[in-house]
């Protein structure tokens, strides 16, 4: 091996040390995964087993809590991180775009109704986790994405609201919670 080849090998070695940073995001998958899961199931329980009219109440309460916690964890992460990789930056862009799309879809709920919006949300979970899984080279996220898309496709035809709550709980379990725990255990 000549000196030029050694230099190239050294460059590759240094670049390789920056890879395998899987710190990106497992806390956020777990946070939102569990909150959406609990919100969907508690909405289902209130709707089917109580007389309480405002059965949707778990959503604003838990999602509001999620927003506060996400900001807290985000700040903590950026304080502690010593490096921001290109993948970290792309993931931030992806999930920021996801958040805005989610807000637009939720805004449309008044016009098109929750039974059309819920399957759209499930399809969006699939998109976010599929692309994240590809960027992180982490298959469980992509398998979870396929499950979320299947739930979304069923949801568009299963128009009963309480069945959709079970579907959204299943979609988030497969696309966020299970891969999120697997990702966290890989660190």
């Amino acid at each position: 091996m000549n000196e030029a080849e050694k230099q190239i090998e050294y460059i590759e070695e240094m670049i390789a040390t920056t890879k395998g940073n899987l710190s990106s995001g497992s806390i956020h998958f777990l946070l939102w995964g569990w909150l959406v899961f609990i919100a969907a199931l508690s909405n289902y329980i209130i709707l089917n087993f109580t007389e309480y009219n405002n059965h949707w109440i778990p959503w604003p309460v838990l999602m509001g809590m999620g927003a506060v916690l996400a900001i807290y964890f985000g700040r903590k992460e950026s304080k502690e991180s010593v490096v921001v990789t290109k993948i970290d930056k792309m993931l931030i862009q992806l999930w920021a775009g996801f958040g805005i799309t989610l807000a637009v879809v939720l805004f449309a709920m008044g016009a098109i109704g929750p039974t059309k919006v819920y399957p759209m949300l499930m399809a969006l979970y699939g998109l976010g986790t599929f692309v994240s899984g590809g960027m992180l080279n982490f298959k469980p996220l992509q398998i979870g994405a396929v499950a979320a898309w299947v739930c979304a496709a069923i949801g568009f035809y299963q128009v009963q609201f309480d069945s959709q709550l079970i579907l959204i709980a299943a979609a988030i379990l497969f696309s966020y919670i299970i891969p999120g725990h697997l990702l966290a255990s890989k660190k």
Binding site: I11, T18, V83, V84, T85, D88, K89
Partner: protein, 94 residues
Amino acid sequence: MFKDLDPLLHSQLRLGIMSILMAVEHADFTYLKEKTNATAGNVSVQIDKLEKAGYIKVAKSFRDKRPLTTCKISKTGIAAFEKYVNHLKTYINK
């Protein structure tokens, strides 16, 4: 041999720092020190040289009352690095 190569990049540690910064968005001093396995003093001197050449941008701030030095590669640095690697490749092909 190697007379056309950028002398600033033809040092092992500076090349290591530049390679890492090519691969990430930005990195702090401690990260660069750990990944290159070099001493703090040496890394500090090389960062200074790369910054003076305009190859990297260095931002100094504080985190939890401790000084924090964050480095990011500049457009000039990317161009110099690419040129250096292309030159190296011509030596390999010879």
